[in-house]
């Protein structure tokens, strides 16, 4: 089924796709950020990808553009997963938000924003979700040190005497 979906996708939305392949049973499409929202809208309307599973990013500090934003979708009718990959640069890590299409996008985009600083254009609520208000930096970026501490209240130091 996944191979059939891949074939159909290549026929119908070919111009938007930079690369298309099948990896471990998942259809993988590589897109440019401008094509993301339009492609997802068509995936949902025409190919039955009605469930937005997950969004995350991968940090490749040595590569340019630096961040790879990875979306996963599932079709409850075809039982197929599709993965969309887009690349965004570190200076302007912005992709379009999917909150207009999927309710689940809100929390997942908030998490990705917390962890990688990816900005989801159109998501009205990018408050911290796993982190807290006032946290500095994005912990899952490779240049954020693992041992970095940001206490909300100062540590107590033992009183002399």
């Amino acid at each position: 089924m996944a191979a059939r979906i891949l074939e159909l996708l290549q026929q119908r939305i070919a111009p938007a796709i930079r690369e298309a392949s099948l990896a471990h049973g998942v259809v993988v499409l590589v897109l440019s950020p401008v094509d993301l929202l339009g492609t997802v809208r068509r995936l949902k309307a025409e190919f039955g990808f009605d469930m937005f599973l997950d969004v995350t990013a991968v940090d490749w500090p040595a590569q340019s553009p630096r961040f790879e934003v990875v979306h996963h979708f599932y079709s409850t009718t075809h039982r197929v997963r599709v993965r969309l990959k887009t690349r965004v640069p570190a200076e302007d890590p912005t992709v379009d938000s999917l909150v207009s299409l999927y309710g689940s996008a809100c929390f997942m985009e908030r998490e990705c924003h917390d962890m990688y600083g990816i900005v989801f254009r159109g998501n009205p609520d990018l408050r911290p979700i796993l982190l807290y208000e006032g946290f500095v930096g994005h912990p899952l970026r490779k240049d954020y040190p693992k041992q970095q501490e940001q206490p909300l209240v100062p540590y107590r130091t033992p009183q002399a005497g």
Binding site: A23, H24, G25, V26, D50, M51, F52, L53, D54, T56, V58, D59, V70, H72, Y74, T76, R79, R81, R83, Y102, G103, S104, C106, F107, M108, E111, M115, D125, R127, P128, I129, L130, L131, Y132, E133, G134, V136, G137, P139, L140, Y144, K146, Q148, E149, Q150, P151, L152, V153, P154
Partner: protein, 409 residues
């Protein structure tokens, strides 16, 4: 880099709505540490009398940098961490993670391992559902039901401790196999526990199913339609309670599920009562599956014969240099996983548990991302709470079975 300390620490949470939005409404803060919720979560509710106008759900109080920590350890070393995601069913986390790494490495596990993992997954599912139902019934005042269910759960935990050495955090899965084979007479005891399970779960049905108080608190409370549930990314029993028969074990069979005969129970209304009942029926299906698996369990080795991931036997490590080096390299450098990425999902008790792994081709992962069902469910929780009573937060939240370890990672 850290922010300067003010005289008064800033509020770690920013409200989604104004402090006093309307004259006749009150803002009530519930949590993050509340005796009636089993999970560290904060619900800020705007109330009109007892009715909830809108809520703002905050999670993250159990965030411990799981994904960051994973990037600093070898693929093997992560197995104890994934136990602690959903600590009610650590085995399923183990197996889901191992399966993802095995896909990336192109490892085919042995038939015995496949069947054993399936059996233990179903056994874990029973323990997880028992915990969820017991806790949510107790929050509604059903102490007897709680004690019955937790008693069975403890039989299961002790039985699993006999196999793995731990009650909750098992660390039993291995990349390419399992830690050890079943001890003697383990299956006999399993059979005894299943008989006890049927006795006690029968009593729960008798106590709860037609109980007026229980029905009043759960029927038509926290209702969600099938379309909404899919839109909000709900999976597992929460989605199935709305009538969508989506179950990864049936839809995209993994492990040995395609060889098993079982049903996918679904609800009608998508309310708290249906979520309770779907879980009860799923446990019965799990028992049915375990009974089939006990007869089907093939003999043979539990680990694949692949030196890239499976540790050599101890007596060989002590007697020949190749195995010693192999052992050393696997422990110090970790299994060398080919570069690439994989998304692999299993049907965990709460829904789709997915691991998105990225390897740069060495012994430590470049990235480990967990698609945790609890986190996604928290995103849609406000849909289940708004419009109902303040007191309904407790049963609705209980029926979602949010697990902090998995939600906040």
């Amino acid at each position: 880099m850290s922010p300067p300390f003010d005289a008064k620490p800033a509020n770690p949470v920013r409200l989604a709505f104004e402090a006093t939005p309307r004259d006749d409404s009150v803002i009530v803060n519930i949590g993050p540490s509340h005796p009636a919720t089993h999970g560290t979560i904060q619900v800020i509710a705007e109330l009109d009398g007892e009715k909830i106008r809108q809520v703002d759900v905050h999670c993250g109080y159990l965030h411990r940098g799981f994904e960051k920590e994973c990037e600093a350890h070898t693929w093997h070393n992560l197995i104890p961490y994934v136990d602690r995601l959903n600590y009610c069913s650590g085995l399923i986390n183990n197996f889901a993670y191992c399966e993802a790494v095995e896909k990336l490495m192109g490892v085919q596990i042995t038939p015995r391992c496949r069947y054993l993992r399936t059996l233990l997954s179903e056994y874990s599912r029973i323990a997880d559902h028992l915990t969820c139902i017991a806790a949510s019934l107790m929050e509604l005042g059903a102490m007897t039901a709680f004690l019955y269910l937790v008693m069975i759960r403890d039989y299961v935990y002790e039985h699993l401790a006999d196999l793995t050495g731990a009650r909750v955090t098992y660390t039993y899965g291995r990349i390419g196999g399992l830690a050890r084979d079943l001890p003697k007479n383990w299956l006999t005891r399993l059979d005894e526990i299943l008989v006890k399970y049927e006795d006690f779960v029968g009593r729960i049905h008798g106590l709860m199913d037609r109980n007026r108080i229980f029905i009043d608190r759960t029927r038509n409370v926290g209702v969600i339609s099938a379309v909404d549930a899919v839109n909000w990314g709900f999976t597992g029993p929460v989605l199935r309670s709305t009538g969508v028969p989506r179950d990864l074990r049936k839809d995209t069979p993994y492990l040995a599920y395609d060889a098993l005969d079982f049903e996918v129970p679904v609800g009608i209304n998508g309310d708290n009562y249906d979520r309770y009942y779907v879980r009860m029926r799923e446990m019965d299906e799990s028992v049915y599956m375990i009974r089939q698996l006990m007869d089907m369990l093939p003999p043979g080795p539990i680990n694949v014969d692949d030196r890239r991931c499976v540790l050599p036997e101890k007596h060989l490590v002590y007697s020949e240099i190749e195995s010693l080096i192999n052992h050393f390299k696997l422990i110090m450098d970790g299994p060398q996983v080919p570069a690439g990425d994989v998304y692999s999902a299993q049907e965990a008790p709460n829904g789709e548990l997915g691991f998105y792994l990225v390897s740069a081709g060495d012994g430590t992962p470049h990235k480990v991302h967990v698609r945790s069902p609890s986190f996604v469910h928290m995103g849609g929780l406000k849909r289940l709470l708004e419009g109902y009573q303040l007191a309904d937060i407790i049963p609705t939240f209980g029926s979602i079975n949010m697990i902090g370890g998995e939600c906040d990672r």
